[in-house]
Amino acid sequence: MKKSRCSGGIAAALALALAAAACGGSSPAASSPTAAATVPELRPDQQVSIVFESYNLAQAGPWTDTFTDMIKKFQLAHPNITVTAQKPATATASGYGSAAAASVQRQIAAGNPPDVGQLVFGDLFYAVRGLGATPLDTVVGHDAVQANFGGTHPFAATARTLGDVDGKTYGIPFVFSTPILYYNASLFTQAGLDPAKPPSTWAEVKTAALAIRSRTGKDGAYIDCLTKKAGDWCYQSLVDSNGGSVISTDRTRLTFADPPAVDAVTMAQDLVRSGATPKLSQEQAYPAFARGEIGMILESSAAEATFRKGATGASPPWDLRAAQMPSFDGRTVEPTNSGAALVMFAKDPAKQRAAWELMKFLTSDEGYVQLTSKIGYLPLRTSLLDDPAGLKDWAAKNPLIKPNIDQLARLRPAVAFPGDNYVQIKDTMLEAVESVVYSGADARSTLAAAQDRATKLLPKA
């Protein structure tokens, strides 16, 4: 009897405590209706304060310094606009991914969302449907949005629509990369390979990787697209380049277990089985390549600075080079994009106008000169690379950017999975891929089972 009363007491206390803990929680704000007409220009004396959230501000060094400097320059040019910059609150140990969207979501729940956020493309649909992102076409007009993509140095044509959802522009593409094959030319030479002719197909990658392994004792090639940690943008490049996709064009049916995806994953599994690819995690492969212990790595250009530091700091230094993503035999590479867009969450017309001015400034010629020369991000206004007043000198000193620029011309947008469960769908897919490639599971049945599970997470029609 005594025990029963005690248990009841504990249960009641727990219920009370939970109820008390839950009190005060607020539900995420639904998207509020956006202004029907374009918002007016700010008067010169109209003071406006806005908040800008960027994951780059969480990274010490050139990332924070460059963004802080750019915001200072913006405020000098717009003395009536005060920008408060902040980083996302995240519990993740490395990288941000959907943590940036979760940070915005929490602030919306508390009633103080940032006015402009830097979100990865995979979060864009959720930002629109779940976080009430503001359609830029409605705020400043379609023509103004398109005009921002133009100018002396226009945006790459393939990049302009990356921030579109349902025909409206919600995000201005900001920073991204395509998958680049970085390789250690010194290891190529030691292995008797010609570093001037990097592999252009996956079959050639396997041959070169095995040669490096057998003749130098180092590892051959690592594809940083095949784990949950790596995210799915690069994996989509592999599948797309083999004639497939991970979801149907109308985004109602998952297709990541279709034959092109199965063949792509089987190719990667064969690289591991043959010994051409080491069984390493992303965290292991990064520094291993930087140490000069892997011959090739398929990676975002965001990692280039790390690789360059490793190559020049090694004793003796090794020769870092870059090439375009290898193709499947007889097919054309269709590179997809990583990266992030600038998305507006402001609802007040004055803040919306101020936010738009900031978005224009960050994606201006001057903005990309700063972003590219100080951080190394791909300049989406590509002709800056030919302008002596822009990035011509920088490009001459940084030839590794060329494969990325060349691939930009035939970019295929990485697609975001639909619905509130988009992260789970992506993770389910990548867990299956990881299991096939690194644990030797059967590609066809594993991907099919994962696709069945993930299909249940798609939004109901």
């Binding site: 206390a13 008390a20 490395s94 700091g313 090694a314 990583s338």
Partner: protein, 304 residues
């Protein structure tokens, strides 16, 4: 490096006033690990040595990496050579380490002191008096311990927003000033405190407040020291809550360390290891300073 809660629980449960050797049953010895046989002793020490190495190795590697030249951070030799303070210089250039360490120390100290004080007062009330609703109230405290942080973070965040305390150090400290851990452990300890002593003090005319500070607290010193250091370390290591509150400033070392982790942009291992090495030093210093208290508390509990 961290003191386990289990150990503290045991420490807090220890009877004050016990001395080394008291209460030992006949035949029990305070012998070395592994019992009496040489083989057992050898195996015991071998296991402890391996465990010690496993604990020390990551810390040693952290300092080894921090002392390599910045260009050598990917080297795998166990000893850094040639030695360099380049990574420390780089870390100090990139983040304001000194102010960050000071702020973090202040936040951790205030948090630990606040939690000790609230825990002490609440535990005293629960242990020294009988009052209506005592048990449900105590169970509520137990209940709050079971509520995960994720449940309360948004309400706490909203409250800070309304109070205008977001992006301030006070906003990091205030919501954490009361913790069930200190209430439960100190109450458990006070329950075993001889009631006769309390009554004798009251008969001498001491007020309840005076009894707490002149009779109870001096006898609780070892437990308070052990609990205090755990609370301090918990506050020192806390990342998520400061990250939520301090979105616009890198004013604490945890957030500064996070700045060296770049995800796809690559991690700045040299700067991270140097800053981490510095971030560990205050905790090391605390251990050295309070070692006698902590060991004493654990010995008491071990003999109970």
């Amino acid at each position: 490096m961290a003191v386990s809660t289990t150990a503290v629980t045991a420490a807090a449960a220890g009877m004050p006033g016990e001395r080394r050797g008291e209460g030992r049953r006949p035949g029990e010895t305070d012998g070395p690990v592994g019992g009496g046989s040489p083989l057992g002793s050898f195996i015991g020490h071998a296991v402890l040595t391996l465990l010690s190495l496993a604990c020390v190795l990551p810390i040693g590697w952290m300092y080894a990496t921090s002392l390599r030249r910045p260009s050598d951070v990917y080297a795998t030799s166990p000893l850094p050579w040639p030695l360099s303070v380049g990574n420390y210089r780089h870390a100090a250039e990139v983040i304001p380490i000194g102010p960050m360490l000071f702020n973090t120390f202040a936040v951790a100290a205030l948090t630990a002191l606040g939690q000790l004080l609230t825990g002490l007062l609440a535990a005293y009330a629960f242990a020294a008096w009988r009052f209506p609703g005592q048990r449900p109230l105590y169970l509520l405290f137990v209940g709050t311990w079971l509520v995960p942080f994720q449940v309360t973070m948004v309400p706490n965040y909203t409250l800070l927003l309304r109070l205008g305390l977001l992006n301030t150090l006070a906003g990091v400290v205030i919501p954490t000033l009361c913790t069930a851990l200190s209430v439960l452990l100190l109450r458990q300890h006070m329950e075993s405190f001889p009631k006769e002593l309390l009554e004798a003090a009251r008969m001498d005319g001491r007020s309840s407040w005076s009894v707490l500070w002149t009779v109870v607290v001096p006898n609780l010193r070892p437990a308070l020291a052990a609990l205090g250091i755990v609370l301090f370390i918990n506050a020192w290591n806390e990342y998520f809550w400061p990250a939520m509150v301090l979105q616009r400033a890198n004013s604490m070392i945890q957030l500064g360390l996070r700045g060296f982790l770049g995800g796809t942009e690559g991690n700045d291992w040299g700067g991270l290891m140097a800053a981490s090495g510095l971030a560990c030093l205050p905790i090391f210093a605390l251990y050295v300073l309070l070692q006698r208290h902590i060991v004493s508390a654990f010995i008491h509990s071990g003999l109970k």
